[in-house]
Each structure stands twice: as C-alpha cells, then as structure tokens.
Symmetry: C2
Subunit: 321 residues, 2 copies
C-alpha cells in the first residue's frame, strides 16, 4: 500500500527538484565519517538546521523563505558533541554555526585591537582579541579547536529546498549502514510549499504586470521514505513549530502516527527558547527553563539533547536485545 | 495631477505598513549626523543595502525575500568614505557590512589562535588573529577604527519591507535640510509585492489545507514622493537589476522619465560584479572591469562611486549657479 507513495516521492525528488552536483561526493564523505566514528564507539547524529530557500524564478531574484536563525541546530550540535556524539551538521548557508554562534551579534572588528604600541608600525602589527568585548573567546576557541582536531563535526551546507531534500536523502542512505547508532535531529525549518521547475518563469517577475498571483505545490513529506526506506533502523527526531499552541500537541501526535518515527519535539514560536514538549508514542515530557536557569545561561537545547541521548541509549539496547 | 497619487502613497504607508517604534529617534539621529558633517564641508550619502523581508503571516514563520547579500552597498560605503562623504548605511539586518565584509566567507574561529605558548594557561590566554588566514586584517582594522573615530558611518538596520519604507522616508526628510549636498544611493533589493496587514493570516499557514494560493499587492513606488516631496533637492540614484539584458536599458530610461531623478545604475544579475551602465537623462556610460582589473582586486563599485561623485559635484555647482 505504501509502495506507490514512496516511489512517487522518490520520483518527484528526481523530477521536480534539481539534484546538486556534489551530492555523491558529500554522501561518500558522510559515509566515511559515520563509519570511522562508530568504529571508535561513538554514535552519530545528523542535525539539520536553518531555513530553506524556495526560488520563485529560475534565475532567482525572489524567493520564499522560512524564519530560522539556526540557533537551535547550532547549539544542539555543541551539546551532542559534549555527550560523545559525532555530528553531521546539514545547515543553511550563513545560518548560525556551532561555537561561532556565540559571536553572531558582534561586529568582529569591534572586538579586535592592535597589540599595544603596535598600531604605528603599519601593516604587520599584531592584532589581538579584546576579551572585554568577547569574554568567552578563549573558552570557545579551545572547544572549537578540540572538536576540529578530533574531527567530530562534519559541516554540509544547503541553500535551496532542492539541495536540502537531496542532501538529506543522501545522509539517510549514508547513515543506514550504522543502523540504530544513527540519530536524525531534523531541526531545519523546511518549506511546506514550492514552485515546480516546470512552472517557474525563467526571468525576474515583472511588477509592471500588476499584482502577483502565486500558486505553490506541497513539498513531498520526505520523513515518510526516510523512516521506511532510507534509514529504517535509525532513531528519528522531528520538530513541530506552530504559532497556535492549541493545535500543537495534536499535530505532534498525528505526525508520530503517520510517519512512525521515534520523537517529535513540539514548540511554539514565541516560547521556543524556554519551553518544548518531547513527544513519543508512549510519553510526553515538558522541558522548561526557569528564570534561575536563564540567569545561569542554561539553554533549553542542553535539556533537549540530554533527554534524547537517554532515549537513544534505550532505543539502541532494545534493538540489540 | 500628481498630488492625489502622492497623498495616497503616504496614506498607504501609514495604513498598510507597520511603523517601526524607533522611527522618530532614528530620524533625529540622521538629521544630526547630516548637519554635523555638512558643517565641516562633507557631503552625505544615504546608502540602502540588502533585501527586504515580506511576511506572509503576522506571527511570521514564512516570508518572501529578495536575493541580495548586500555586497554592493557595503563596498560602495567604503568608496564613498574614501571620497570624502559621510555615510548613512540603511541595511538589512545581517547583510554584508562595510570593512567587516572582507571576512564574510571565513569562520572567525579558524582565523584565531592562542598566542604561542599560552594555550595551556587556560581562560586568560591571549587570543591573536592569524594573519596568514586574514592577510588584510591589519589594514582593514585601521580603516575601520579611523572611520569609527571620525564618526563617518551611521548604521541603521531594517528587516522587513515595512521598516525599510518608513526608515527611508524618515531619512529623506532628515536629509532634506542639506539640500543638494545629499545623495541617495538606493542599492537595496526592495520587494515589488507584499501582503497587506489586513489580508494576512495571524497564524502559520497550515500545509494540511493543500496547495497554497498567494495573492500579493504591488508595493507603492516610494521613489515618487521621495523625489517630489521628501527630498526634492537631493541627488538621487536608483538601481535596476534584471535577469533579461534585452529589457534592461528600456526599463532604466522609463524609470528616469517616470520619477524624474538623476541616475539609474542598470545591471544584469549574472554580470553585476563586472559590468553596469550608468544612465542619466542625457548620458549613458558603461563601466566594465577588465580581466586585469579583476586580477588586481579592483571592484566595480569603485568605478560606480567615482562616476557618481563627479556627477554629484556637477549637480551641486549647477544648483548654486
């Protein structure tokens, strides 16, 4: 019964969404990354992060986008690494990046200064970080360098919805070889709508033609083949963001029923940094930051990751048993 | 004849585009900035830069956007400052920024290192810039610090189309006091379409309702009241970006006829970094980078700014004469 549907998603992907030229090369890299880390006893999480760009013209001037700074994905990556995971970070170009995110609100030139007495000596003067402007730089740099040295973070970029879909499929296939040791943490804000290549004008839409009528198709639900076909043994976490709290949990439960994956992290736009509900087929856990937590710079992602790594542990031991 | 149209643009602005709460405060700042610099003999250019965000929902998850990194605006700001101008930089939040733009493709943490021998000493170790990774940092930092000290750059941020429109109006009114000494360099990629607040759904559009039909209104042509009413003595430069080269110059000439401003800089998406046409009512000048220029890191914005500052000079002397 499900067969034709899955076939049609795969078919749609190939037909209506341009395949990025480097997809095979990236798949190879992800595969090697996963194998290497599992061999040394680590688990691997694929994090998707940031919004997707949906072009309205094939030579794109205008596009549809989803609100997402990539903060949740970037901070979660750090907590997964702290918990012993290796991370594939599939993120929107220029969205927030692990570790570097700490400085995202600062103009870097405001944080740099010439080493005292060296301003005058011209272009070879040493430039140092003013740690009054960036009090955490030393700690963050150390973490970043350790992660780099141990190759615990594999960054992969996407820009458009098409790139996202094809790269996620490649990732799922690459990680299928490590079975239940793979987690998918699908935090990206993916468009539900797109304009098929065949219906897209080539050139910039002319405003002199009057008001604009846009007709957008629905994006195929890629979670379905991911769970059933591409990585059937993996631990899969999807996210549900709504602005209307009253429909949120119903939608989360319906997603679990439909796609048969392990977890939905449900959150409301306005409160997403201090409150989420982790929903599984059997359970429902509220994670909340208190005022005290916020004062101590605790981030909700630390709680989410802690909850999920425990659940993933249990999941793995059940598969084995 | 033109009166009712202008009145209706002003009315539309107030009715259909939310007024940012800080608009008066920003206007005050721009006014003071302009007065102060004109008093010391400088001219002032207002640069708009980056794309505008057009929300599809009032609690925004989805939005329409325009392709623009802000590179042209950011680099032009530097060349205007080099040419003796003070710059108001009205730019999209997180678009490229003057001087800092040089490092935009680099993860800053890859360019930092602990001062030799200090890695071990923990959180107080000095962090320095690796000038092999950022060979220009010393030169750029020096320029940036000089500009900051002389207060030659006033940054103002926008995010949505509404913010852009209201802040540009405020800027035009603020700069009207310095007459022909003001230049407007309207390089931002502004949406031609929007959804009026009254027609916007409050909550996230549900994909379960099926394919999406969007109906977008045309954004009022703000160039019209800007030239006629708000800053009638200023030197105004607009930009025209097309993907189809065959319609470009016609559209540029039509814009000059319609709005009666001084210059249109016309460019085609694919060749915009190496080729533009500066169109005025009487003239048409092609600016082209040769391969040699590109090799020497010459940027087309240097040529554009040089062309425009000369034209602005002439314009001022004609007003006086």
């Amino acid at each position: 019964m499900a067969e034709p549907r899955i076939a049609s998603i795969d078919g749609k992907l190939a037909e209506e969404f341009a395949v990025p030229s480097h997809v095979d090369e990236v798949k190879e890299k992800m595969s090697a990354f996963a194998a290497q880390h599992v061999a040394t006893g680590r688990r691997v999480v694929l994090i998707t992060s940031g919004g997707t760009k949906v072009p309205l013209e094939s030579r794109t001037v205008r596009f549809l986008d989803n609100f997402s700074s990539g903060r949740r994905g970037a901070s979660s990556a750090e907590y997964f690494i702290d918990s012993g995971y290796a991370v594939i970070f599939l993120h929107r170009h220029r969205s927030l990046y692990p570790y570097t995110r700490t400085f995202s609100t600062i103009n870097m030139l405001d944080a740099l200064q010439f080493r005292s007495g060296e301003e005058a000596s011209g272009n070879t003067a040493e430039v140092v970080v003013n740690q009054q402007v960036l009090p955490n730089v030393s700690k963050v740099l150390k973490q970043y360098q350790e992660v780099k040295e141990c190759r615990l973070l594999l960054p992969v970029e996407f820009n458009t919805l098409s790139e996202y879909l094809h790269l996620l499929k490649a990732a799922a296939q690459a990680l299928s070889t490590i079975g239940s040791k793979a987690m998918f943490y699908l935090a990206a804000a993916v468009s539900d709508f797109y304009i098929p290549a065949s219906e897209m004008p080539e050139h910039k839409i002319q405003s002199s033609n009057g008001p604009l009528q846009l007709s957008l198709n629905m994006v195929p639900k890629i979670l379905s083949p991911l769970v059933k076909d591409w990585a059937p043994q993996a631990f899969v976490v999807s996210f549900k963001l709504e602005t209307d709290a009253t429909i949120l949990l119903g939608k989360a439960r319906r997603a679990l029923d439909t796609y048969r994956h392990q977890v939905v992290v449900a959150n409301v736009l306005d409160s997403r940094r201090g409150y989420v509900v982790v929903v599984t087929p059997e359970t429902q856990a509220e994670l909340i930051l208190t005022e005290e937590d916020v004062k101590n710079d605790i981030e909700i992602e630390e709680r989410i990751v802690s909850n999920l790594t425990s659940a993933h542990n249990k999941f793995i031991s059940q598969q084995v048993g």
